[in-house]
């Protein structure tokens, strides 16, 4: 859950966490009807930096109040589509 851990993390982990937050489908057991998610796009402001091995690390903005020590915010937009599992 990326919103709870507002620490810098590798962008690969960040993207996987984002997809974890999205349910594949929701259904009403009483009626048997449901909706499946075909894909989604998410756009979030980010703080970014480069770690010691040159990989991109990002986080959601971490400061609730502007303190003057916040990193300027960039933006990340990711589009996920549904893929077949096993």
């Amino acid at each position: 859950m990326i919103y709870e851990k507002s620490t810098m993390k590798n962008i690969a982990d960040f993207l996987v966490d984002m997809s974890d937050d999205m349910p594949m489908a929701v259904a009403d057991e009483a009626t048997g009807e449901g909706l499946a998610v075909d894909g989604f796009e998410i756009s979030v402001p980010i703080e970014s930096s480069t770690d010691d091995i040159g990989e991109l690390a990002v986080s959601l903005p971490r400061g609730r109040l502007a303190t003057g020590f916040d990193l300027p915010h960039g933006k990340l937009t990711a589009t996920f589509i549904r893929g077949e599992g096993e």
């Binding site: 690969a12 997809s19 930096s49 991109l56 990711a78 589009t79 996920f80």
Partner: protein, 308 residues
């Protein structure tokens, strides 16, 4: 990546994009692994765009990026977009790495009189990194064009082209022939020009069984153990040093050659010490300090097909 004093690390766009691509591959792999844990469906990353707040810096004339630090105003925004492509699309948009092309780096044929560090950097900026690419450039452009666009004088280009066409040996290794005869394979560049080259081992001519521009297969005499060999191509020569194990009973533990499944199986000798295998066998005192093989000096021979 380098670290600038008093600020975050700086990085080139190229290495940053390569690193980011590897990270995106890792993300795709992680998503795919989730599907293997029993989930019938999973999400896959289709497109990604990132806006980064950065500052541009130019240490040593190379444009590099640095992430904006807290309280820094006036940062630029770099917008990067990625989308998924198939393997065939990637191959269509990649350089062809033909096996028969000369893959030596430009530094191996360059010196301050031909291509200095600045000239090599200029060529690398237009995607010319290997000797093979340099020769292809010479076949499709006029040197005046290259001089006009990259600022490299024509005489330097011609000198580099001349050096690129000289025969050079890169490595040699003992191999076992189909009749269990010990042979030696020589790899290099410009090892043939029309006719079969002449090869001498310790000053004695030996039979050349196969020859191509990049590889020779020769048959040493029974008494050849170690010494210098020489490849003569159209009046030019390249030299290296060989060291061949003695004859052993095939299949014995002491047999330094691999069991032949291919007509000319690679000898274990050549694999035992990869560092050594990539050097022409030269006595230590004759090797250059950087461990690179020493290429032969030879006379000028224009490269075939060049317009320079």
């Amino acid at each position: 990546m380098t670290r600038a004093t008093g600020s975050g690390p700086v990085f080139s766009v190229e290495e940053f994009v390569q690193s980011l691509t590897a990270q995106l591959d890792k993300a795709q792999d992680s998503l795919a692994i989730k599907a293997k844990t029993g989930r019938p469906l999973t999400f896959a990353l289709k497109d990604l765009s990132v806006d980064l707040k950065v500052f541009w810096e130019a240490p040593q004339g190379q444009l590099k990026l640095r992430h904006a630090a807290p309280n820094e105003e006036g940062a630029s925004t770099v917008h990067l977009s990625f989308t998924t492509i198939t393997r065939s699309m990637a191959e269509e948009n990649s350089l062809s790495l033909a096996l028969d092309e000369d893959h030596r780096s430009l530094s191996e044929i360059a010196d301050e009189a031909s291509l200095g560090e600045e000239e090599r950097r200029q060529l690398e900026m237009v995607g010319v990194r290997t000797v093979g690419q340099f020769r292809r450039l010479s076949e499709s452009t006029h040197p005046k064009q290259v001089e006009a666009y990259l600022g490299i004088p024509v005489n330097r280009l011609r000198m580099a082209l001349e050096r690129s066409s000289r025969p050079a040996v890169i490595e040699q290794q003992p191999v076992r022939g189909p009749d269990n005869r010990r042979l030696m394979r020589i790899r290099g560049a410009n090892l043939m020009s029309g006719s079969t080259p002449e090869v001498l081992m310790s000053g004695e001519p030996v039979e050349v069984l196969e020859a191509s521009e990049t590889e020779l297969l020769v048959k040493p005499m029974a008494h050849h153990r170690e010494g210098q060999y020489e490849v003569r191509v159209s009046g030019q020569r390249a030299t290296g040093f060989y060291e061949l194990p003695g004859e052993e009973a095939p299949g014995s533990q002491a047999d330094p050659y691999a069991t032949a499944t291919h007509p000319y199986a690679q000898g274990a000798y050549g694999q035992a010490n990869p560092h050594q295998a990539h050097q022409a066998h030269q006595p230590a005192h004759q090797r250059p300090p950087n461990g690179q093989p020493q290429y032969a000096e030879s006379e000028y021979l224009p490269a075939g097909g060049s317009r320079w």
